[in-house]
Amino acid sequence: MSLVETQRTEKLRGSGWRELVTPAHGLLLLFLLVYPAMASDFFLTQIGGYSLILGMIALSLMLLAGYGGMVSLAQITIAGAAAYVIAIFGENNSGVHGFAWPWWVITPMAILFASVLSAAFGWVAVRTEGIYTIMITLAIATACFYFTQQNYALFNGFPGYSGLRAPEVFGLYWRDPVPFYYLCLANAVVAYAAVLYGARSTFGLTLQAVRDNPRRMRAIGYNVTAHKVFAWWLSGLIAGAAGVLLAWFNGRISPGSIAVGPAINILIIAIIGGLRHPVGPFIGAVVVVLIQTFAIDLVGAERFNTLIGLFFLAVVFLSPDGILGLWERVKPRPDRDAWGPGPERSGVRE
């Protein structure tokens, strides 16, 4: 099977740009660009911006899971690490640290730190394979949560940091609704395009081959561990960028943001949206954020978790490829597998 896959993906090589420049993408981008004209401030940031941020974190998971076959529950931890760098080295009003370094120093620093941390997590996680990853990353995420909650010297413990401010550049305060929305959009578009394009690059194809048959790839002479760890590093860049935006969005960061609940939330977003294509995580994020925000007006917040849990179960059971898969199922096409096997069908159990 994997041989067939490799041939098929081989055929697609080099078509990265063509994938990006399509009428549908143009239409979607146009809509997202004019969205601020029709949305209220609340919908612009609390729904639009927040969905884009969560979508990016879920995208970093999709990159690992969809192309690398590694399902990580530590993506929110990586985003949180970037946010903590912003809080510690930037401005905060918690009276701890807050060195107030300029944004153009701390932002790349935060993203870089998150990516290195991500690579380190990856290094620990790739020592085992397949389904183990989900357990190990869950344990790592929990350890980080406890550590930040207990440590006051560096992380200011339970309350964490508040008063984080987005920078003011070009006369704009980037946390104002419209600039912040466009900032999130720009980041999300870059991340999305990079993943879509990167999946067709030599590295992307190798990673998918490693996912499908690590033993063979090792035998051919590829350094499987290095490829996987590099994928972790890349996903850390995306999660880190999202983490910086998250810090500015909330204006604060605390251990509660990187607890087990939020970690699983990211997985739910990615699965509900679908892991077969980078647009899935964003769809999932919009759906989850909308449910999360308005559940209290519809069914009351008390049973909100039952609602989202059942929805999640339904997706896993009925449509393994998430809403994306459901969409495709409505109009079945012969070449449905053109994107290569989703991680759920590949050799996770190799």
Binding site: R127, I131, I134, T142, F147, V316, E344
Partner: protein, 350 residues
């Protein structure tokens, strides 16, 4: 990695191993002697100064042992299910909590604690059976989806349990003949009038430890001395071969899942009597089992026992001597184990 290289190594190092075993024997003897001295000797002041007091130290050790017993009960089911079906049952904690609630209701209504314990085991075993037949059999061979389904189940279960039992803390009342504290023949201090102060320890906790040991031996006997145990072990070693040999794999799977789930429910009632039953315990015991199983080695009951001992002791000693970072210690142990021996202490190489 491969068996061939292992054998070669074995030949090479056989001599070295013999002498190394002797060295370990000496170390073990020394440690045992030190422990005996710590337990029975009257402590000099400098030791009290380091370890707070003899009472604190010995209590921490005893509590570590009883906690280990509880962790073993939960984790043994988890590890069996994983070893046989490669199914990471992230709803295992929910089984623990539901078992505890069921045990509470039954014990409270009938007035018989033992009935509650039995109900916890039986009802959870039935639920486990239903889960296996209705859910997991349909997704057989699809590890990731199985795991995702368990996440969904745990989210819904947690919310529904909150709806039924609310946020109140429940305590399962232990019958009179199990309550109270007993004097252990260990002198912790002398009063100014020369009277000896003996170490007092809750009787029920010792019972928990005894139960865990009995169950552990029972499991070992079942796995090593019975037909179904043989089949289970064969399945853990090579699932496909077992299926190919004409055995009814589904029966074995169902039996193991029922036993695993039943043990979780059993542990819920036993643990809920020692500590308490409240929302959030599901995640706590899930994480504990994860760490215990990762450290001890996936799929190994002996590994679960060793892992539970290490984690239980580390948690209690950490709580007394390094309260701030006590919770992190267990995770540090896990990460260290992963980087030194990714398959866990008793795990088979991956």
């Amino acid at each position: 990695m491969s068996d061939a290289s292992n054998t070669n190594r074995d030949d090479l190092f056989r001599g070295a191993r013999a002498s190394r075993r002797q060295a370990w024997g000496v170390v073990a003897l020394l440690v045992a002697a030190l422990l005996l001295w710590l337990v029975f000797a009257q402590w000099p002041d400098w030791l009290d100064a380091i370890l707070i007091s003899k009472k604190a130290f010995l209590s921490a050790i005893l509590n570590g042992l009883t906690l280990a017993g509880l962790y073993f009960l939960v984790a043994s089911g988890f590890t069996l299910v994983f070893g046989l079906m490669r199914n990471v049952n992230l709803a295992h904690g929910s089984l623990y909590l539901l078992g505890a609630y069921v045990g509470y209701e039954v014990a409270d209504r009938t007035g018989f604690w033992l009935l509650g314990v039995a109900a916890g085991f039986v009802i959870m075993a039935v639920i486990g059976l239903v889960m296996q037949v209705v859910v997991f059999r349909r997704l057989e061979g699809d590890d990731l989806r199985q795991t995702l389904v368990t996440i969904g189940i745990s989210i819904v279960a947690a919310d529904l349990m909150l709806a039924v039992w609310g946020g109140t803390t429940y305590q399962i009342l232990v019958p009179e003949w199990l309550t109270g504290a007993i004097k252990l023949p260990v002198i912790t201090a002398y009063r100014s009038n020369g009277a000896a102060v003996y170490l007092v320890y809750p009787y029920y906790r010792l019972v928990v430890l005894a139960i865990a040991v009995v169950i552990g031996i029972g499991l070992w006997l079942m796995l090593n001395r019975t037909r179904i145990g043989m089949m289970i072990r064969a399945g853990v070693d090579d699932r496909d071969m077992l299926a190919a040999s004409g055995k009814n794999v589904h029966l074995v799977f169902a039996a193991v899942f029922a036993i695993g789930a039943g043990l979780a429910g059993f542990a819920g009632v036993v643990g809920g009597s020692a500590l308490s039953v409240a929302p959030g315990e599901d995640v706590r015991y899930l994480l504990a089992s994860l760490v215990v199983v990762i450290v001890g080695g996936m799929g190994s009951v002996t590994g679960a026992a060793i892992g539970a001992l290490i984690i239980g002791l580390a948690e209690q000693i950490g709580l007394v001597y390094f309260p701030t970072y006590g919770v992190v210690i267990t995770f540090v142990i896990m990460v260290v184990t992963l980087s030194v021996r990714p398959q866990g202490i008793m795990g088979k190489s991956l």
